[in-house]
């Protein structure tokens, strides 16, 4: 795995290197091509030109030849002037090789002192005579160039053409500069050699003379050509290599991109300003050679640098979408904020105020100290801007505060609000986050609870449903047994017991079903305005028999004014029925049961109080299903009475609570009171035509209702008697 990734990295890097090198080389080549194009002709062509010249030209027309000739003449004259050296050469004569006779020289002074390379110094020798006759007869055979000097005039002939003649002022080959010292009779030369007189000098030169200089030029040109050739080869090889590398790069662009990404990652860490500064510096650096008009060679490197810098920055921009956002200001800010978030809210506020105050203080000091009025104005403006910024910051916090408190109150109201999102730099962001996590925690808990509750209800529903079928059989066969006449008496007793228990079981199953539905809000409700006193009285009247059977005194305390509430009458009947049954069942014999209805702050409170037969200390939560005050569970009932009362009351929009004080057990059912409804729902007239009711016949429905109100509660019913 490791080696693999290392190999990957290497391959990536290789691809990237190939790209960089190939592009650099191509860039250089392009620059060279440009230079060649603008400077006109290649370096090779120039070298060729000079070589051609060296090879093609007549050597006797070259500067070197002229130089050599003049040097030989001066040397000969110098040697002639030196008495002691008379007759032989003391100087070095360039290109005058005695062995070869490419140059013949004869010079004499006063017909006595002679200087020659012809093999004899005697002027009478055949060779020398022939030389001396050259002026008249032209150059001897094998020589095409001759120079004659007689101490006054100098004549040079080449191929029979006079190219230099001091008398005739001919200088077609440009010898003047070389022989100017000879021409100037009052000059330095003649001052030094003034004793030379009656001079005569003849020099002839064979054609195609090759001088040492020629070979030097040749070798220079050759080496230049060679180096150029090598450069070409090298350049071509580099170009081919570059192209190969570029192709390789093209095939592995993904790998190069990988490196680009990594580079971008690194460059992403650098602040934007630093990048800008770097770019500016590189640009300035590159502009220098151009401003100073230097050659391409000098501008190449800066150009490459600029090119790569730009490419690097482009890469940075490409992979770092918000490249300008990573700057020193933001970094400082985020550092400040993270530092701040660790502190408590109050500390945060204090330190932000301290920062503000410090900034204002510094600005005030500058304002006091600064001499120029413009500077003072700028300082004042800066102070105002900071003040505005601080106010804005503070207003933002206040807005967030408002949102936070709104959210809290909405959460309390149970609204399903979306989580709060504050700006990250908001001072209240941590608080909002905490609140959000609390909210999601609560909603999770509630969801879990609801799910668990629903599963419980489903289980109970299924179980109660499955119990019903066998229970049907049990009840039916018990009924059949009961009809048997000839059974012994004790068997009949057993059957009665079975019948009672089967009935209780049936009730329990129904109760379980109802409670489980009510506690999950799964019951259908038909709320309508009703009179609470009436409901209580009807319930009591309905239960008259069991109330009478219990040895208890019932005390009713109901207000005279009808108390209207909006609720489902059928369900509330079950609530009061269960509460009263509970009171009848668990009250101490002979004690009193109080049923009181009071209205407090728009809430109707119905209290049912009784003195318990059992000690109520350590009373379990009797409103829980199957929880009963007497743990022996010996008494009748499903153990669901209070649970039904509680869940029905709450489903109907009321509150249910139970409290105990010593042996006093009290249940409170509370509902919001509603205003008396308009009696429009009453039907227009009665259908009864019987004379008995004729007097009421004319009464309007509204009045009827009104009358009902008046007569309904003539006075608060107070009864000490068992009803």
């Amino acid at each position: 795995m490791d080696t693999k990734s290392t190999n990957h990295k290497r391959a990536n890097l290789l691809s990237w290197m190939c790209f960089v090198l190939s592009v650099s080389i191509l860039f250089t080549a392009a620059a060279a091509a440009l230079q060649t194009f603008f400077s006109g002709g290649s370096a090779v062509a120039q070298a060729k030109q000079s070589l051609q010249t060296a090879l093609d030209d007549n050597p006797q027309e070259t500067v070197a030849f002229r130089e050599d000739v003049s040097q030989i003449v001066y040397a000969a004259l110098t040697d002639l002037a030196d008495r002691e050296q008379r007759g032989s050469f003391s100087k070095t004569y360039p290109n005058l090789k005695w062995e070869t006779s490419n140059i013949l020289l004869f010079a004499q002074e006063d017909s006595r002192d002679t200087l020659s390379n012809t093999g004899s110094t005697d002027p009478e020798s055949a060779r020398n005579t022939r030389l001396l006759q050259s002026y008249l007869m032209g150059a001897p055979e094998g020589y095409n160039y001759m120079l004659l000097f007689d101490g006054d005039s100098l004549v040079i002939e080449r191929d029979g053409v006079r190219v230099y003649d001091t008398d005739a002022m001919i200088d077609s080959d440009g010898y003047r500069t070389y022989f100017s010292k000879l021409a100037d009779k009052d000059g330095e030369f003649w001052e030094e050699y003034s004793d030379l007189s009656d001079l005569s000098l003849v020099m002839v030169v064979a054609p195609n003379l090759r001088t040492d200089r020629d070979s030097a030029v040749l070798s220079d040109a050759a080496s230049e050509l060679f180096s150029l050739q090598m450069l070409w080869f090298g350049g071509a090889a580099a170009l081919v290599l570059a192209l190969l590398m570029f192709v390789f790069y093209l095939f592995s662009r993904d790998r190069k991109a990988e490196v680009d990404r990594q580079l971008a990652q690194i460059s992403g860490e650098v602040w934007f300003e630093i990048k800008l500064l770097f770019l500016g510096w590189v640009t300035w650096f590159c502009a220098q050679p151009f401003l100073e008009k230097e050659s391409v060679k000098e501008t190449l490197f800066p150009l490459l640098l600029l090119f790569w810098t730009l490419l690097f920055l482009l890469n940075d921009i490409r992979y770092n979408p918000h490249v300008y956002q990573h700057n020193s200001y933001r970094s400082t800010k985020s550092w400040y904020l993270t530092h701040q978030m660790k502190k408590r809210f109050q500390q945060r506020m204090m330190s932000s105020f301290a920062l503000f105050a410090a900034a204002e203080g510094v600005l005030f000091w500058i304002f006091r100290v600064i001499p120029s009025s413009l500077g003072a104005w700028i300082t004042a403006a800066a102070a105002a801007v900071i003040l505005l910024l601080y106010i804005r910051y503070f207003a933002g916090i206040l807005t967030d505060f408002a949102r936070l408190t709104d959210q809290i109150s909405e959460m309390k109201a149970g609204a399903d609000t979306p989580p709060l999102t504050f700006r990250a730099e908001s001072a209240l962001a941590p608080a909002a986050e905490d609140l959000n996590s609390i909210q999601s925690g609560i909603s999770h808990a509630v969801e879990d609870q609801v799910r668990a509750e629903r599963m419980k209800i489903e289980l109970i529903t299924n179980v109660s449903h499955d119990i019903k079928t066998p229970l049907t059989s049990i009840i039916n066969y018990i009924g059949l047994l009961r009809q048997e006449r000839d059974l012994p008496e004790h068997v009949q007793d057993y059957i009665e017991i079975l019948a009672g228990k089967a009935d209780r079981l049936k009730k329990m199953v129904q109760d379980i079903f109802e409670v489980s539905k009510a506690s999950t809000g799964n019951i259908e409700l038909h709320p309508e305005p009703l009179i609470l006193q009436k409901l209580i009285q009807q319930t009591l009247a309905d239960m008259e028999e069991s109330v009478a059977a219990a040895h208890l005194a019932l005390r009713l305390d109901l207000p005279q004014e009808p108390v209207y509430v909006l609720t489902d009458g059928n369900r509330m009947y079950r609530v009061f029925q269960n509460l009263i049954r509970n009171a009848l069942q668990y009250s101490l014999e002979g004690s009193r049961v109080f049923i009181q209805l009071t209205v407090q702050d728009g809430t109707a409170l119905t209290q049912i109080k009784n003195t318990s037969r059992f000690a109520l200390d350590n009373l379990p939560d009797v409103t829980e299903r199957f929880v009963r005050g007497d743990e022996s569970r010996s008494t009748d009932g499903s153990g669901l009475g209070l649970s039904i009362a509680k869940s029905f009351t709450e489903a109907c929009g009321g509150n249910f609570s139970i409290s105990t004080d010593a042996d006093l057990f009290s249940a409170v059912v509370s509902f919001p009171v509603i205003p008396e409804p308009q009696p429009e729902e009453q039907e227009a007239s009665l259908q009864n035509e019987d004379q008995t009711y004729s007097e009421e016949q004319e009464a309007q429905p509204g009045e009827l209702w009104q009358k009902t109100q008046e007569t309904e509660n003539p006075e608060t019913v107070k009864s000490d008697e068992p009803i």
Partner: protein, 232 residues
């Protein structure tokens, strides 16, 4: 008179057996079936006067069977079901059932309901044919001329006060009467302790006219408001 034949359908054989024993004691012929398909077969092929049918059964459920039977036969059908929700009852009745009894049921109540359905099925036509001032609500018919009440065609013996209460409520079916108003109209004197007095009478009337007085079908208490008999 030919014995009336009742089809009892339930997948629980013991329940079918118990029901048939009760019904045979009352003098009916009983046919037993244990699933919906069998029930439809019997209903089509035999001369049956009433069907008692369970809802949740194998092969074909009770409601589907009722739909099938109702296509051709017009006879009273009573649903027996362990489902006790209002929505289940409404569904059953809207499928064409005439009555809905929830399990576990009281055998006596079952028998009473069977009798009621049969009586209405066989004799109701005669009552309706006589031109009298009659108010009919379900099983109950009140003769306003003679101030008599019949349930399933059988006369109900009511006291004078009870008759007045029934007449008031039946003539104004659907209207809710507070106890005080009933008291004033029936006793013709100002109400005093009206709630108890009226309630006692209401309970007595229920005993006489309702099949199951604890779950009244007709004479209902509107808790917190008053009493009423629903409109037909």
């Amino acid at each position: 008179m030919e014995k009336q034949c009742i089809l009892v359908v339930d997948d629980d054989k013991e329940i079918v057996r118990a029901i048939s024993i009760y019904l045979e004691k009352e003098g009916y012929d009983v046919l037993c079936a244990y699933d919906g398909v069998q029930a439809v077969d019997f209903a089509m092929s035999r001369n049956i006067h009433l069907i008692l049918i369970d809802v949740m059964m194998p092969r074909q459920n009770g409601l589907a069977a009722i739909l099938k039977i109702r296509e051709t036969r017009n006879l009273p059908i009573i649903v027996l079901s362990a489902k006790s929700e209002d929505s289940d009852k409404i569904l059953g009745l809207s499928m064409g059932a005439d009555d809905y009894i929830t399990k576990p049921f009281n055998p006596q109540e079952l028998v009473a309901r069977v009798k009621s359905q049969l009586r209405r099925y066989t004799t109701l036509g005669d009552i309706n044919s006589t031109a009298q001032n009659l108010i009919t609500i379900g099983r109950l018919t009140f003769d306003t001329d003679n101030h008599t009440l019949t349930a399933d065609g059988e006369p109900v013996r009511l006291t004078a006060t009870e008759t007045k209460i029934v007449e008031l409520l039946m003539k104004n079916a659907g209207r809710i009467f507070p106890a005080e108003e009933i008291y004033r109209r029936v006793w013709n004197e100002p109400a005093f302790s009206a709630e108890n007095t009226v309630m006692v009478h209401i309970r007595r009337i229920r005993e006489k006219i309702e099949i199951n007085p604890k779950e009244p079908e007709y004479l209902k208490v509107v808790w917190g408001i008053g009493y009423k008999i629903d409109k037909p």
